[in-house]
Symmetry: D2
Subunit: 341 residues, 4 copies
């Protein structure tokens, strides 16, 4: 089968021909990919930013945002069967460790992360596990929802953690209205009555944000921190959802947060550097966010099926994976790019 594989860091991936995976373990599931999302993390992987964290052996297949149809299952699988349409939680988990027993899938002691530390879904088939499969309504096309498997769940997870802080009268800044941010805005609209202020460099992204429910949009032109401060009567926002968190945005994100507020780091790429006196004199928090739980993905699918979260996607054939990565890197995608094998 065809697979988009990274051979050398800082070089473009290659579309190789590799053997199809098979379901050997009792809980193995082989999924025929219907849609594989293209994510900024793929760019970061290619740059080698994840290399010291994962130690993955090159070459391997990238693609960590996947949906498709079950084609083969191991002998102990009971929750899905060949033919089922599924969206995949990004990390197959063990189900037995403390974190799994607490529903905290991202912190499973034994999970894998296909597309990050093992072969992923920018391919015709993907090997995953029964515990990663969320069944889709048969009428749903995998390519239409694939971006919820990583961009969606990550945005949803961060919003859900922020909900208790976002009572009526609060302000939530969404920094970055791209692949994740445009979903985050919709999740905020569905789950809160907060005032949503979106900051992005790109006027088109801001126009989309407004359609999706943003109450205010601000061009990230260097004066945006002041603009947020003014808009909040000098206070800043109760929550900043920072979908960028690199190239200075991470410093702005903290600066836009009010006393007792929380800066949610979701994007990444640079260091955040804050005087501890600023943290304690205002009692502000910096909150890490990593993908989401299996139940987060199930809940997000409820929102999607109710039409409360809709994806703005641009599809590419698998053979055009490099174009898709290139378009993303150059800011030519509104919403999310999806490979359809």
């Amino acid at each position: 089968m065809k697979a988009v594989r990274l051979h050398v860091y800082d070089n473009k991936p290659v579309i190789d021909d590799v053997p199809e995976p098979t379901a050997k373990g009792p809980l193995d599931v082989v999924v025929q990919i219907g849609g594989a999302g293209v994510c900024r993390t793929d760019l970061h992987i290619i740059e080698g930013q994840w290399a010291p964290k994962t130690g993955v052996t090159l070459p391997y297949t990238i693609g960590h945002e996947n949906a498709g149809w079950v084609r083969e299952v191991g002998p102990a699988v009971t929750n899905v069967a060949p033919g089922d349409a599924v969206i995949l939680h990004p990390t197959p988990t063990c189900g037995l460790c403390r974190a799994c027993r607490a529903g905290d899938d991202m912190h499973c002691e034994n999970n894998s992360f296909p597309g990050i530390d093992t072969d992923g879904g920018m391919a015709e088939y993907l090997l995953t596990s029964a515990r990663a499969c969320v069944k889709l309504d048969p009428s749903t096309r995998p390519e239409d929802v694939a971006a919820l498997a990583d961009a969606g769940i990550t945005a949803y997870h961060a919003v859900r953690k922020a909900v208790p802080l976002l009572y009526p009268g609060t302000v939530c800044v969404v920094a970055g209205a791209g692949g994740l941010g445009h979903i985050g805005i919709q999740c905020l609209t569905a789950l809160t009555a907060t005032t949503i202020v979106v900051v992005d460099k790109n006027p088109e992204a801001l126009a989309l944000a407004e359609q999706l429910g943003a109450h205010q949009t601000i061009v990230a032109d260097g004066k945006h921190v002041d603009a947020v401060t003014e808009l909040t009567n000098g206070n800043g926002a109760e929550v900043v959802l920072d979908f960028v968190a690199e190239q200075g945005a991470q410093q702005d994100g903290f600066a836009m947060t009010r006393r007792n507020g929380s800066h949610f780091i979701i994007g990444y790429g640079s260091n955040i550097d804050i005087p501890t006196i600023d943290i304690i004199s205002t009692e502000r928090n910096v909150i890490g966010n990593l993908v989401g739980t299996y139940n987060d993905l199930v809940e997000l699918m409820v929102l999607a099926q109710a039409g409360k979260v809709t994806l703005h996607t641009k599809t590419y054939p698998l053979d055009s994976a490099l174009d898709a990565l290139d378009d993303l890197d150059n800011g030519r995608i509104r919403g999310r790019g999806i490979l359809v094998p």
Copy 2:
């Protein structure tokens, strides 16, 4: 009356003779100081670290950790009367803003912070408000509990926020077993069944920590991060209570925190500088902490009266305030220094 006043940043304070305060406003309360704690923040104030945040006009009286006896009250005061022994919440609040109406005293929109941004308690008398007064049992001597008014409440507040994270089987690192840390250890012992690991440069501080309930103590000798990692099977601690957060300790604090863990910043003085990829790939948090609420102080007094929190103090006459500050700066105080006018 005598008062310890700062005239010039980076110079020693001076013991001046100034007029006694009087209760002019309806909720004003004048307290005769029975004990005023000496805190690392006083050193930071003298260094000018707080100057840009408070804009206080020099000279002014320092001392933000106070207990004593009510001497005069304004006409609308109903909760205390002259003669009552009281410990003082550090920030008199308005009682009417959103934060006050949520019990969140530290974020009152109109509070003052005597000793930080207005005249404090290193003096014979202090002007405060009815809303700051917590009545003491008549048998309690103010000098014996004064350190709970700031060191105590701050340690308690951080511990109370951490309690939900510290179920049996977890590890909590206490970084710094000084004035605040030695109270934090006792609060952890009273409110949780977590394993308490204390890190400090000073072997005497560690010996005290063990007496107070620490399960493990580690000398902060440069290998302490490795020691914590090893002790936690390579994982790190669910919570790090960082009572130091300067001179590198803030970086170590984050490094000792496990996946999904939280680094509580309580001390301060340097910058914390973390790659955002480290925050998101492990979903760790950096949590700000600022003093505590009025109810925190009331609860802490319950622990103190039950003998569950005892203070290690060293008393000085008011005239020896400079000696006390000097002893603190040079690590010659175990527990907390208290001025007794």
Copy 3:
């Protein structure tokens, strides 16, 4: 001035001529009533159901849901001034007890409840306190929002407590779509993405519920518990907001709740009688709800000003108070009746 006063339990109130109140205490505020809501609790007061709880001395003025304009203030009042339009939190509080210091206004140890245990607002003027006043936008007419002061805050408070239980995919039953329920539905729509199922005897109330965002409506015809069970695949609802809780509704409310679910009691009037084995074998909860906090009312006003909560009201002149009570008792009011002096 005119005031609607109860002289004898189980007899109709009388419109008396009584002296106007004045602001004697430092925090007293006299409000000219612009709108006073008519509530089922007024009927329960007249029936004597509250007599053993309040011990109020008859005659007294009823009316616990009030908005209007400040006319006179005591010397220590700083947050409002004569002329301000205000909506009133129903219970003036002391601001100094544990509950007040935790933002938990309903459990103030020293509060009063005008209209319940002291003279209320079915009159031309009402005596209240600075701590009860929430300032209105000058363009808002008190009569248009008065019903938020008790019906609104009570519905909002219950919904806000339920929000953490109502993630996407859950079902919330609203039992009773009258004065409180029709606000509850709108709060659920604003703050959650739960599926809202409304149960009421009255088809007109159900029609209104649908307009306000109910996803399903069920006539309370004796088969409604079965209908909810069927609609939830035999499970019942995660949350039942029981705005009736009398005459059998309280038993149905519990019966419609699923394993690990919560039955919120908001209405009242009968006993709830449940086998403890049913409570423990399914781990269900019965949750009490009493009005709401000052901040709840502020948040609700945010929703109202954003058009997310709109009231369905029917106004009556003060002289027609008895007609209004009669209409309520006989189910002739959709939404809420408001007296406008």
Copy 4:
């Protein structure tokens, strides 16, 4: 093998000879029983109180509180191996439903409850699943900890839910200091600084309660509600942990709860009957409690291994099961009875 089986409701169980279970399914585990607790629920089962809830077919083996040694495992079991000492979570779960994915084992849609709705552990061997096994330290004897598998986990789960309500200065009433209650007291001592007030009919139980950390003990002699009211300055307790909840205790439990307090139902056997006006006018809650989660049991084992929870048990050979049930029914057991096959 020998097994204690119930043939007819309201008749004594019989010690039968039945075939040993075998591990047929992939996740099956056969455990040789080292200790099986005797519980008031066994008496309730014999009385037929559970019959309409479980629909279990008679005869079957009772015993839902078990520990022992793994003897045989199915092919997909990875977490335990023959020879391992284990304590068993009472309900083997599916691991795939919403509740399991949230760590909420008791509400698994597909769980079984050996000893309640299928063959239990008052026998030489028990069939359970890998997901129910918590490995013990090899030095721990199963008979010494078996009572933690149901009495312990149930008490711990209720206490853990109550912890956020039990800040210093609060009062927690423990109603019933028997098999569950005596563990509950120790969990409260380990996890909170609340004032523990124990109510029981039996002076010996109260003496044990005092040894275990109770601050006050009250004989349940009909005046105990008044005694609690007086002791709490007329307020009642923030939390009542009702380990009895039958024969009037359930009414007393609610009566001893203060405004905004919570009555935790843990025992059962009678109806609770409360005016809804009492629930709403004080905003009190009735909280259901059912066993606990897998992680609860793991945490409780941490407390046990640290010596913070110790069991008071009385062992009987399996052949004396009827004596043990009889002793329990007649109040002749302090702590918990354990069958040792």
